[in-house]
């Protein structure tokens, strides 16, 4: 090969090795990459469906090891939901709540002891929220709930006298929770107030979601979606590596249709509205969110309330509370408690979002407007 002046000896003999070296390096790289990335990289999904808490419950967990996912999901279902349902449900005669309520029927100022942790804690928390919301959420509202029977086949419009009587038995101020030696004691009723009754229905699902999330996290789960009858808790990000995209139920369309979406991670989203449960009599719609003050379904200028919070129990209870409060009081409440994120749908089809949700909420119903709460 002719050598030009100033060029080095680039014969084929010296090039081939260089090229081969490069190719070999690429192959080694590819192999390394494959080894590092291949094994166990496929994300597994495990789902459990159940009929609990009076509704459809679904737990979806994602991760690498199928067996540990199965175990975590089963644990959550058994030791979480079932156990708590047996403590909280007013419809289960042997539950803690039923025990307290039947004791309360015995007379004035009853003290019930030996209340286990979850029930004791939750009743206490419910009372706190009742205080914070000026009674808009009230765990002692059961007499009214039972009277109207909304959601059962004997739903009816009670007489004014019946309503007045039931209302007289509602008073969250007359319930106290005391912690003694590892268990709780609940004092219910007073000299002037008897036959009170507790109902944790407005906060139980949220609490169960919190407990489940903690159980799953302790089991090492980093990615999961818990759906307790529409009360959603998400752990981590979606398996695709982006925030979870959750639809928010549209107040006027059938279940499953949403008016907007939120992109969230590691938090819970709860929506509440009068459309969930109601009955119609003589052309009037009576829904299930009662105003503890009036003993009747709350007359609110809100159609739907959504709360986004890391503590699902709070989200659940506040949903009810804010709906009862109505738009103005809710806006004031949210202005005071800046750590609570919410979406309020007002009767004029405007969606109000708190500042924290502005960037993650996307309205998808063109007939609605969006505004940010100050």
């Amino acid at each position: 090969m002719q050598q030009k002046a100033g060029t080095t000896n680039l014969t084929k003999n010296r090039i081939k090795p260089a090229v081969l070296l490069a190719l070999a390096a690429v192959l080694v790289l590819a192999a390394l990459a494959a080894r590092v990335v291949f094994s166990d990289r496929k994300t597994e999904q495990v789902e459990r469906d159940a009929y609990k808490l009076g509704t459809v419950v679904r737990i979806s967990v994602y991760g690498q090891n199928r067996r540990s996912l199965d175990k975590a999901a089963d644990d959550a279902l058994e030791r979480g939901i079932t156990r708590l349902e047996n403590e909280f449900s007013v419809n289960i005669a042997s539950s803690e709540i039923s025990r307290i309520n039947s004791a309360s029927r015995g007379g004035r100022q009853i003290t019930v002891g030996g209340v286990p942790y979850d029930t004791g804690y939750l009743v206490g928390r419910a009372l706190e929220i009742a205080r914070e919301t000026g009674g808009a959420f009230d765990p002692t509202v059961y007499p009214i709930v039972k009277l109207w029977g909304i959601g059962t086949d004997h739903a009816r419009v009670p007489s004014d006298a019946q309503i007045a009587d039931a209302r007289s038995r509602i008073s969250f101020g007359d319930v106290t929770v005391l912690k003694t030696n590892g268990t709780y004691e609940i004092k219910i009723g007073s000299r002037s107030r008897r036959q009170m009754a507790l109902d944790l229905g407005g906060i139980a699902k949220g609490y169960v979601a919190d407990v489940l999330a903690e159980m799953l996290r302790k089991d090492g789960i980093k990615c999961a979606l818990i759906d307790l009858g529409g009360n959603i808790y998400v752990i981590g990000e979606a398996p695709q590596g982006r925030p979870w995209k959750l639809g928010i139920q549209h107040p006027h369309k059938p279940r499953g249709e949403y008016f907007g979406t939120v992109d969230v991670e590691d938090t819970s989203v709860v929506t509440s509205g009068p459309y969930e449960r109601f009955f119609v009599k003589n052309g009037v719609r009576y829904h299930h969110i009662f105003d503890p003050q009036t003993g009747r379904p709350a007359r609110s200028d809100l159609e739907s309330v959504t709360i986004v919070s890391r503590v699902s129990a709070n989200a659940d209870a506040l949903c009810t509370a804010l709906f009862v409060m109505g738009f103005d009081k809710s806006a004031a409440f949210l202005a005071k408690h800046r750590d609570i994120q919410a979406l309020l749908v007002r009767s004029d089809r405007t969606v109000f979002v708190t500042k924290g949700l502005e960037s993650v909420f996307r309205l998808s119903d063109p007939s609605m407007k969006q505004e940010t709460l100050k």
């Binding site: 100033g6 680039l10 260089a18 090229v19 490069a22 390096a25 690429v26 790289l29 590819a30």
Partner: protein, 168 residues
């Protein structure tokens, strides 16, 4: 390495790095995958200084790009693609210099670069369907490769004229 060669290598490496970062801003369907315009500087190094310098420029560029972006996925893609591209360009240029003009050598390099990147992506996500992305990528890479190759050719001609080149 003579000081001039050192300086030129450094210059070409930083230019390659700059181009690399700039192309990173272009939206492409696959993450971490680049068009490969930066490879032209390895070609310039090849022409002016030889295969070893070409590989140096490529390796240094890939490493620096990784330091800058901290994206190991893009690093692997660039490394595989870059080495393959440099190897192919060296092979073609050294053995068939008379039959290929620089722009087309650059195109050959671009093809190898994109093929290497797509192969890495397909392996990583364990999805052979990724390989289909190679076709449009190669096509655009052809255009980019040819253009920068032409620029390299003009650059090299000018440099050769200036100093009767011997940077080795």
């Amino acid at each position: 390495m003579r000081p001039r060669a050192l300086v030129l290598t450094a210059l070409l490496t930083s230019l390659a790095l700059a181009f690399n970062i700039a192309e990173g801003l272009l939206p492409l369907p696959l993450p971490g995958v680049k068009l490969g315009a930066a490879n032209v500087f390895a070609l310039v190094a090849l022409v002016l200084m030889g295969p070893r310098s070409a590989f140096s420029v490529t390796l240094l560029r890939v490493l620096l790009a990784w330091l800058v972006s901290a994206n190991w996925f893009a690093f692997l893609c660039s490394l595989a693609g870059g080495l393959l591209a440099t190897a192919v360009m060296v092979f073609v240029y050294v053995n068939y210099k008379s039959e290929f003009s620089l722009p087309w050598v650059s195109v050959a390099g671009a093809w190898a670069f994109n093929a290497g990147q797509v192969a890495v992506v397909a392996l990583m996500v364990r999805d052979a369907r990724m390989l289909f992305y190679a076709v449009p990528l190669l096509l655009i890479g052809t255009a980019t490769g040819w253009v920068v190759g032409k620029l390299a050719e003009m650059l090299c001609q000018r440099v050769k004229k200036i100093e009767r080149m011997d940077y080795r």
